[in-house]
Each structure stands twice: as structure tokens, then as C-alpha cells.
Amino acid sequence: MNRKIMSGVGLAAVASLALTGCGGQDEPAAADGPVTLTLAGWDFASTPEFETLADAYHEANPDVTVELKEYPAGDDYDTALTADLAAGAAPDVFIVKNLKNYVTFTEGGTLLDISDVAAELDPETGGLAPMAIDGATYAVPYRQDSWLLYYNKALFEKAGVDLPDGSWTWDDYAEAAAELTEGIGEKQVTGTYLHSWQSTVQGFALAQSGAPLDGGDFSFLAPYYERVLAMQDEGSQPTYATVTTNELTYQAQFGTQKAAMLPMGSWYIGTLVAEQESGAADTFEWGIAPIPQADESTTGTDATPVTFGDPTTMGINSGIDESKVETAKDFLTFAAGPEGAAALAGIGITPALIDDTVADTIFGLEGVPQDDLSRFAYTTHETLPENPVGPTTAAIQTILGETHSAIMSESTPVDEALAEAEERVANEVG
């Protein structure tokens, strides 16, 4: 657009706004005047990360205010954000909560190209590299959770089972779960707990087998499903049917000591610490171990265990006012960089960039287990995405979600369900 016309219009706008006495929220400001960025987040009451980042940035850049706009939590976030994006009412910066929607947002032109921001970030930033689509990046990760194994030391002692030492394969895990269930010997207490999400099985299968999601072949899922079904039959964990119909929650199951082990994302560290403090969870000694591996090659504290986890990324609304673009990019660099990471670590959130400062901060928090294995598990892992960036990911994941419930409810045998899934992908996904 002709800059002269724009500044002329800008002057007229400022003049008219001044005349009507309104606050000038939308007046195009020069880059060094006060700027307000709007940021979409969710559930501010129990998710303090947005406020933390906003406040930290404001402290470092006093003439920039990051205004938070609250969206519903959970799956509703995407629905509401989609509606606002469609109507052009979305904020300047928004979080891409669900990685599988990243490609759609990009294709729809809602995200600004921020390859320059991505280039400036530390290449070790978790989840950054896979965000590139045809060489351009449209969102950068500010937090990256990984899945770990939580375990209850007290229950292990009670059952007389050896604590995890970082060398476990899935078979070791299954064995321990069975022994724990028997050793504890209490009704309603199981060796482990598997939550109902499809990621609890498929995430690991995808990451640890190295198979591609869109390869059209789902046989890599078979051994993982067979294992959990066997564990279910054995009684080592509550059945999928019970978990879903009774709406069991992983926080309650592990927190009230109804399960001795729990594979879960690193976000649970903060939650468990807070719940033990408030009394919502029992007081017991717990630790974190690396997630069990597919085979011996990646086990042990000398190797790097493979796990999964999607980064939570932030992007810039392509409809943003042009004068704010530089500020927005700077905010993203801050959030995804070491300063943002330090701020997030302070409230127990796992940032995308995990360096020693971050690890020290996290393990310095009251209530977090202090043993070496926990620190190893938290800092050392190869985390692969659960929803690899690609045009067919969303559709495939919907199909696999239905496959998951079919298999876990024991309505369809594993091989049949996987074959059906492959057929559906071939038939329905372009």
C-alpha cells in the first residue's frame, strides 16, 4: 500500500479519534511508541504460562504490553479460535494448541511466515526443526512436553519390586506392573495406569518404531496394542472400558495411590507438586524415570531414550497490524528463547529449550524429586512429535482415534482393526 496514503489516513484517523475523545487503540504507532499485542491463551486460572510470558516480556520491554485474551480450554479452544479466525476477530499472536491443526492454519493463510524468527533460535530448541513446511516456518515452540514414567516409591517398596533404573524395555515394564499388582495386594490398586487417550499407545509406537505416520502401513502399532491388551487382561491396569465409562482421571489414580506407575507427559510434574501441597493428592515419595524403550539399544543412562511429545507453538496472525509485526516477532523470539524458558521453568512448565538453568530451576522447586534418575529422565530424551507436521496428519489421527477405541474396548481384534484403518486411510485421505 502507498505509504503516503497510509500515513495520511493514519493522521486523519488519529485526528478524528482525538476529536471524538476515544482511546486510540488501533492507531498505527511508530515502532518505538507504546505497543499493545494481543495474545490468545486459555484457562488463565490454572494455566499461568501466558501471564508469566506476558509479564516477563513487559518487564524486559516496558513499552510493550501483552494483553491476554481468554479462550475456552481443551478441545473447545480450537473451535472458538477457528470461529474467530474465520471472522477476522482473532488476536495478534495465538497459540497453535493442537499440532495437527498447524498445517490447516498455514494453508488457510492465517499464520505469518516467521522463518527469520526460527533462524535466530537455538537449533536445540525442542520441536523446532519439524515445524518447517517447504523450508518456511510459521510457528515456533515455546514449550515442549515429553512423556515420562512416573512411579510411586512407597508402593514399590510395599510390593518389594525393584525401582526403575532407566534400563527398562516395555517387557520389563509389563513384568513390573504385574508384580506390583500382586505385591500390593489391595483391591482397586493396580501396578500401573494407562489413560484412555490414543496417544498413550500410538505416540510411543510412532516415536520408537521410527515408522512414518502417512506411510499407509500401521503394523508398527500392533506390538504396542498387543502388549497393553495383555496387561489389561492380566489386571495390571484398569481396563479401557472402566477408564472411559467411569471417567477415571490420571491425576486421581496416581495421586490417591491407586496406581504405582503412570506414563504421562512432563506437565504432570507441576500438577502433582501442587496437588500434594494442597492435599488433593496423598503425600508419598515419587520419582520420574525414562519411558520404557522398544529394545535394549536405547536403554540405560548412557543412551538417549526415545519418547514422544508435541510442542506447543506460537504464531502470528497474518491479519496483524503491519506496524506491530516487528514487536510480535520479537515477542516470539523471547518466548521461545532462553529468557522465556527461564520464566516458564520458574512456574514448573517444561519449555522447548531445556538447558542447565532450566533444569536447575525445575529441580529447585519444592516437591520435585531430587534423585539423579529423575533429572536424567527430564533432561535427556529424544522427543519425536505425536502429530508430525503434514497435510494428512489430522485426517489420519481421526481414523486412528476410532481405531484406538475399537481395539481397546476389545470390540475388534488388533489385526482386523489395523487393516481396516489402512483401508480407510487409503480410501478417505487424499
Partner: protein, 316 residues
């Protein structure tokens, strides 16, 4: 009608000067009626046309395009509909929807009509029982789904525990079994809707004149005969309304299934409305989702038109 009037009807509304007209000429009466009719309809129709009709027409247009919400819609003609023909998931959803509808519709009508008839009498505590029947409808759908899921829990739920007293062997898995999930959902759907339709039937039952019942009783008709020959015919407008609404709501069922089983296990309870939601909001294929909505619309309209014509015939 008198001939002079007929003569006047044929003229274009003019009356002979000096002669007072016996009746207003037919055509201007029709015009007058049309105008008055429209003034009645206009307030509601204006809001309806702008707020509902326009988006619905837009929906029909979108079904002929490929659109991911965020950009411009790309015209593809009938490609979406062609794709539907070969889409197995669509067929599954279609089949499930019919399964739900064909069972839910008659069961709900019978149960709610029965409740209305029962609770229309001067029974002690009728008001209380009517409120009880209405409770399921006013409870939030999320709470309903959570509770019923728990009641249906195969291992720990009270329903299976109760059944195990009488039945040997494997008990139904209900919402986690691909064979029993739909029956479970239908049961909950009927439980939730019966109070609502009972209310509508109750309103309709108030229009049945008491004297007709009396006359029939005096003539020696028993309860069933009175129901069939007095109540039902008077209830026809209400019956038409209830039937059309139950039909449409059954084909459109969404919230209940979404929160109870999320279309699962597998696709055992996937219905058209959820398929639309999946394609639209999870995979951002809005054009395709709209084409499914158009199919759903056509099914409902077809059934409604059939019911409409049947009702009109019975009216005559």
C-alpha cells in the same frame, strides 16, 4: 353464494355505482387476506430470513465448493457429492443414523404419549410425576452422559450388577461394546426426550373436549375405543408436530452421542451430525461437511413432506 356476487367476482373488483356490495370482490379479499397474513408473519420472518435462512442458503452454496474456512471457497460443482457415494465412513454414519432414528422415533412417541395420557388424569401427585418425567430433559447433557456412562459401566456399573442377578454369562459391554453402544445411546436418548414430548402431548390433550369422552362413554365405548376414536383424531395436529419433530431431532442427533461415546467404539455410534462436525471442525473440510449436511437435510425434508401430505389427507 348468490349469483350477483358471482357476477361481481368476475369483474375486476368494481361494483355498480350506487349499489352497496353484498360482499367484497373475491380478488381484493384475497389480496387483503394475503397482506394481513404477511403482517402476522413478517416480524418473525424477517429475523428468520436474515439470521437463519441466509446462512442455510450459504451452506448449500458451500457444499458445492471446497473450503477450509480460512480462505476463499473454491468451486468444485458436484465433486463433494460424488465423493460421498464412495465414502465408507459416510455410509456407516448414514446407517447408524437410520438405526438410531428407526428405533428412537416409535419408542419415544409411544412412551411419551403413554406418559401424557397417564399423567393427564386427576391422579394424586400428578404434578410431581410430571416434573420427574421432565427432569431428564432439563439436566445438562454433559452430566447426563457422565452419569449414564457410569451406570452402564460393564464391570462396576449398577445396571450390569443388577442384570448379573438374572443373566448368566457375558453381560453387554454397553457403551464400550460395538454391538451394544447404539442400544445404550437409544435408551438414554429416549429417557432424555420422553419428558419433552410428554409436555407437547399434554398440551395437545387439553384440546380434546371432555364432552366427547362423556358422550362416547355413555354410548358404551371402552377405554381403548375412546382413545382410538376420540383422543387420537383430536390429537392429530399435535401428533403431526411431535412426529415431525422427533423425526428431525432423531436424524440430527449429535450432542448426546458426542458426549456419551464420541462416535465409538470405533465408528459404532458415528452419526451424520458428528460426521459433519468431524469433517468440518477437525479436518477443516467445510465444503465436504456441508454436502453431508445437505444430504441430511434432504432426508429430513423428504420424510417431513411425506408426513405433511399424509396429515393433509387425513384432515380432509
Amino acid at each position: 353464494m348468490a349469483t350477483p356476487v358471482a357476477q361481481e367476482q368476475r369483474t375486476l373488483g368494481f361494483t355498480e355505482p350506487g349499489r352497496p356490495p353484498l360482499r367484497t370482490p373475491r380478488t381484493s379479499l384475497k389480496l387483503r387476506n394475503a397482506l394481513i397474513g404477511w403482517t402476522f408473519i413478517l416480524p418473525n420472518f424477517l429475523g428468520f430470513a436474515v439470521l437463519t435462512l441466509t446462512p442455510v442458503i450459504t451452506l448449500f452454496y458451500i457444499s458445492l465448493t471446497s473450503w477450509n474456512i480460512f480462505g476463499a471457497a473454491k468451486w468444485v460443482g458436484l465433486a463433494n457429492f460424488e465423493r460421498l457415494i464412495g465414502d465408507k465412513s459416510f455410509h456407516t454414519a448414514l446407517g447408524n443414523t437410520f438405526y438410531y432414528a428407526l428405533v428412537h422415533i416409535p419408542v419415544t412417541i409411544v412412551v411419551s404419549l403413554g406418559l401424557a395420557l397417564l399423567l393427564n388424569q386427576k391422579l394424586r401427585g400428578a404434578a410431581f410425576f410430571r416434573t420427574v418425567a421432565f427432569f431428564p430433559y432439563i439436566t445438562s447433557i454433559v452430566a447426563v452422559a457422565v452419569v449414564w456412562n457410569m451406570l452402564f459401566s460393564p464391570e462396576y456399573g449398577p445396571i450390569n450388577q443388577f442384570l448379573s442377578l438374572f443373566v448368566e454369562g457375558d453381560l453387554p459391554g454397553w457403551t464400550v461394546s460395538k454391538d451394544w453402544a447404539m442400544p445404550a445411546v437409544i435408551i438414554v436418548g429416549t429417557w432424555k426426550d420422553m419428558g419433552y414430548y410428554m409436555l407437547l402431548f399434554l398440551a395437545g390433550l387439553q384440546t380434546v373436549p371432555g364432552e366427547l369422552h362423556e358422550a362416547a362413554r355413555i354410548d358404551g365405548a371402552n377405554t381403548w375405543q375412546r382413545f382410538w376414536n376420540v383422543t387420537l383424531p383430536c390429537l392429530r395436529p399435535t401428533m403431526f408436530f411431535v412426529t415431525v419433530m422427533v423425526t428431525i431431532q432423531s436424524f440430527k442427533v449429535f450432542d448426546l452421542i458426542l458426549v456419551m461415546t464420541d462416535g465409538g467404539p470405533g465408528q459404532a455410534t458415528l452419526v451424520l451430525s458428528q460426521y459433519i462436525y468431524q469433517k468440518g471442525f477437525e479436518q477443516f473440510e467445510f465444503g465436504y461437511a456441508s454436502s453431508v449436511a445437505v444430504v441430511l437435510f434432504l432426508i429430513c425434508i423428504l420424510v417431513t413432506v411425506v408426513q405433511f401430505l399424509y396429515n393433509k389427507r387425513k384432515e380432509a
